[in-house]
């Protein structure tokens, strides 16, 4: 592709000859707006898909071919006649009282068909365990991702322009961002409730005694960060409210049964009046397990009598969808000379962001898994989740497990280093076996941690390096 003077001349000539193409004299006929994907009608059969027994086959996915052809339809690929587009205005403050919202100027714009504010939502709250999150904030905004108003317009650009015409008057409130600060309850995110909205305790044996009797006690604090799921497909949904008062919603949601429950609740409609359709989700990882803008679109569709679509921008995806809980993890572990863990005392603080979301499952799994896959007779795990005026943290691949694994496995190597024991060996000395008791005293079955350690070490060649 190296360009030379000759190439430039050639390019100029090509431009010349292409003149007809670039400035056609007659407007050519545009082909109908169909989807002209080219694909062969006779398709090769995949052998693994044809074999019995089916289990254990490396069968290819039926959607694999459609992915490759560009034929898979995600929500944003769907259009309906007369479909319009919605955009959501987000908060200007991390914490503020909403004094007033004036949408009149936006509504007067040509191309704008409707606006919506939180007060118009029949039941303006949702959440999988605590219903503490508004669909659109009506009284108080608790983080910058809170939506305060929505606009439906004939194009996305007009909807975006209209957002700038909405006048929201706020009374800023003091905000708290640091979870350790938030624990003090000096600034409350959901007053009068405490910022501590979830906690968990797991106790077994006598930790203090066992720590006192340990040959070595290891203590360290570990921290993890906020992480976004980054599905390549941003959240997208389309709502169609029909003449029978029934609403159909196409959504990139990963859990439609419970999504329908949430919609029925927020819209105050019987479940039979709500149909939720999911196509393939373009990446979920826990981030698409809650409704976001679906009730808003339903109500905008009701107001306008048109299908309404909203696809998140990448920015929306970051600030208004959920993200992974940061953990602050205080680990104290007592071991004997042989590296056997005698006691582990763990204190976890989860930065919950502005709303509860999937914190229940995260704090549950995080606490139970925190001691690691090890037989430990004396345990004390205490975990607290606190509200802060930041992005809501929710479900993300692992529900707290990647966080605590970072802590318990880092400390395992600290112990190994100090005692001069090989990292593989110290794990084998402590790991669960079939029938071991878990931190909650559950008798474990189908245990394979030692097997995985040995097999991985063999594959890696762990023993190849002299100690």
């Amino acid at each position: 592709m190296a360009t030379t003077v000759k190439d430039v001349k050639k390019a100029a000539e090509a431009l010349e000859t292409n003149k007809d193409l670039t400035t056609p004299a007659v407007k050519p006929v545009t082909l109908p707006r169909d989807n002209p994907v080219v694909y062969p009608l006779t398709l090769p059969e995949s052998e693994a898909r044809l074999r019995t027994p089916a289990v254990g086959q490396r069968a290819s996915r039926p959607d694999g071919r459609l992915h490759g052809l560009g034929q898979t339809k995600y929500i944003d690929d769907l259009t309906f006649p007369h479909m319009i587009h919605a955009k959501i205005l987000r908060s200007e403050h991390a914490h503020a009282r909403i004094i007033s919202i004036d949408t009149s100027e936006a509504e007067a714009m040509p191309g704008v068909l409707a606006t919506l504010t939180g007060r118009e939502i029949p039941v303006n709250s949702f959440g999988p365990t605590l219903q503490d999150q508004p669909v659109l904030a009506a009284e108080v905004v608790r983080h910058r991702g809170d939506g305060v108003a929505a606009v439906a317009a004939v194009t996305e650009q007009i909807a975006a322009d209209a957002l700038e015409k909405i006048k929201v008057v706020y009374e800023p409130l003091p905000a708290v961002f640091d979870p350790m600060e938030a624990l003090k309850d000096e600034i409350k995110v959901h007053p009068p409730a405490s910022n501590i909205y979830a906690s968990k305790v797991i106790k077994k044996g006598d930790v203090e005694k066992a720590l006192a009797q340990s040959d070595h006690v290891f203590h360290r604090v570990f921290r993890t960060q906020m992480v976004e799921h980054v599905p390549l497909e941003p959240h997208s949904s389309i709502a169609l409210w029909d003449g029978n008062g029934r609403v159909t919603i196409y959504s990139s949601l990963g859990r439609i049964t419970l999504g329908r429950e949430d919609l029925s609740r927020t819209l105050k409609l019987p479940q039979s009046k709500v149909r939720l359709v999911g196509t393939i989700v373009g990446g979920n990882f826990g981030g698409k397990n809650e409704i976001t803008n679906e009730p808003i679109l339903a109500l905008l569709s009701k107001k306008t009598g048109r299908p309404v679509k909203c696809t998140f921008t990448r920015g929306d995806e970051f600030i208004s969808s959920t993200i992974r809980h940061p953990f602050i993890m205080d680990y104290k572990t007592g071991v004997n000379k042989e590296g056997k863990i005698l006691a582990r005392k763990i204190h976890l603080v989860l930065d919950g962001g502005a709303y509860c979301s999937w914190t229940g499952t995260t704090i549950g799994k995080g606490s139970i898994l925190a001691p690691g896959p090890y037989e430990i007779d004396n345990l004390h795990v205490e975990a607290y989740a606190v509200y802060t005026n930041k992005t809501t943290t929710g479900a993300m691949r692992g529900f707290g497990a990647p966080q605590v694994c970072f802590a318990y496995e880092s400390q395992m190597d600290d112990i190994a280093t100090k005692l001069g024991i090989d990292p593989l060996e110290i794990r084998l000395r402590n790991a669960f076996s079939e029938g071991s008791a878990s931190p909650t005293s559950q008798v474990l079955q189908s245990v394979a941690v030692k097997e995985s350690l040995i097999q991985a070490s063999e594959r890696f060649g762990w023993e190849d390096r002299p100690r």
Partner: protein, 335 residues
């Protein structure tokens, strides 16, 4: 100078929600052409769940993966499902499907038994036929059996069932109880190279050995593991949403750094041979746990390479460099 190091991390991870009910239902219809239609309320979110669920239905009915058409993702027509969350689909929805397909199969056995002059419990569904146990030459095709059920017996071969993993609530004081029905286990080992003058960490290799019970579809399990590791790599070294006064400073893919193809190491995947009698054909799950031990293994490898313990994620080059300089400072003071 570049310093090499290696680190391992193992983990355990549960299937399903913590005590909270998380049922799935399924309906399996056997068609007169010998295929089956599976109705599930879950949604394909990329893992290949629908393929695996189809394989589970196919296995129960003795037909091939291709013989099962999966209908999903519409609350009007599919049964309830807690959804694509908590690594639960293969295990929970899979268990519901086994039960639903067994119910449909039972109807086929009832219809076929008189035709084959045996009792229903003497039949099995195998290689696309209903055949007499231990006497495979005496058989009829599944399509025929379905046809007979539908048009003669008047009992179409449709089975429905649901499954919710049994748990025991945790004691509020001590947290003791049975929060999950089963767990999976894994070990990952990372080899890294740390540039001790920039702090840059290059991951050379990751070995991942995972237990997921029976791998219903090993190819898809491998895909889960490889993908989980890439999230683990981002979590370990790169990804962080940064705030200034409550405002995200990097809410875009230019400044929120996640692994590109050039940032990923070669990944070697193996599965542990394991069978969980409580799962569908011994299967457990593979979604989330794949992303769990990666960061820990990498941090241990960094420690092995340059002797610094990273205590907060992500281990950016700057953080690693700062730790190396602090360590040098401390060593100089001692000297």
């Amino acid at each position: 100078m570049k310093q090499r190091g290696r680190g391992m991390a193992c983990m355990w991870y549960p299937i399903g929600f913590t005590v909270m009910a998380n049922p799935s239902a399924a309906t399996v219809k056997v068609n007169t052409d010998g295929t089956a239609t599976l109705l599930t309320g879950t949604v394909e979110t990329g893992q290949g769940a629908l393929t695996v669920l189809g394989q589970i239905a196919a296995e129960t009915l003795g037909i091939s993966t291709d013989d099962v058409h999966v209908v999903s993702g519409d609350t009007d027509s599919t049964p309830m499902d807690t959804g694509a969350i908590a690594s639960r689909t293969t295990y929970v929805t899979g268990n519901a499907i086994v039960r639903a397909a067994e119910a449909a199969r039972e109807i086929l056995f009832e219809s076929a038994a008189p035709l084959l002059n045996v009792k229903p419990d003497q039949l099995e569904a195998r290689d696309k036929r209903i055949q007499v146990l231990g006497f495979p030459s005496r058989s009829i095709s599944i399509g025929e059996a379905a046809q007979h059920s539908e048009s003669v017996v008047g009992h179409p071969a449709i089975g429905s069932a649901s499954y919710n993993p049994p748990t025991v609530a945790l004691d509020p004081e001590t947290g003791q109880g049975k929060p999950f029905n089963t767990y999976v286990y894994a070990t990952q080992i990372a080899e890294v190279e740390v540039d001790d003058e920039t702090g840059e960490v290059e991951i050379l290799r990751i070995v991942a050995v995972h237990d997921c019970g029976t791998a219903i579809n090993p190819m898809l399990v491998e895909g889960q593991i490889q993908g989980g590791i890439s999230m683990g790599v981002g979590f370990a070294l790169q990804e962080e949403i940064l705030f200034r006064d409550g405002v995200q400073v990097n809410p875009n893919l230019t400044n929120y750094i996640l692994p590109t193809s050039l940032d990923m190491p070669d990944i070697e995947v193996e599965l542990v041979d394991n069978y969980d009698p409580t799962g569908p054909f011994g299967a457990k799950g593979a979604g989330e746990p794949t992303a769990v031990p990666t960061a820990a293994a990498i941090m241990n490898a960094i420690h092995d390479a340059v002797g610094v313990r990273i205590t907060s994620l992500p281990a950016t080059a700057e953080k690693v460099m700062t730790a190396i300089m602090e360590q040098r400072g401390a060593q100089e003071q001692r000297a």
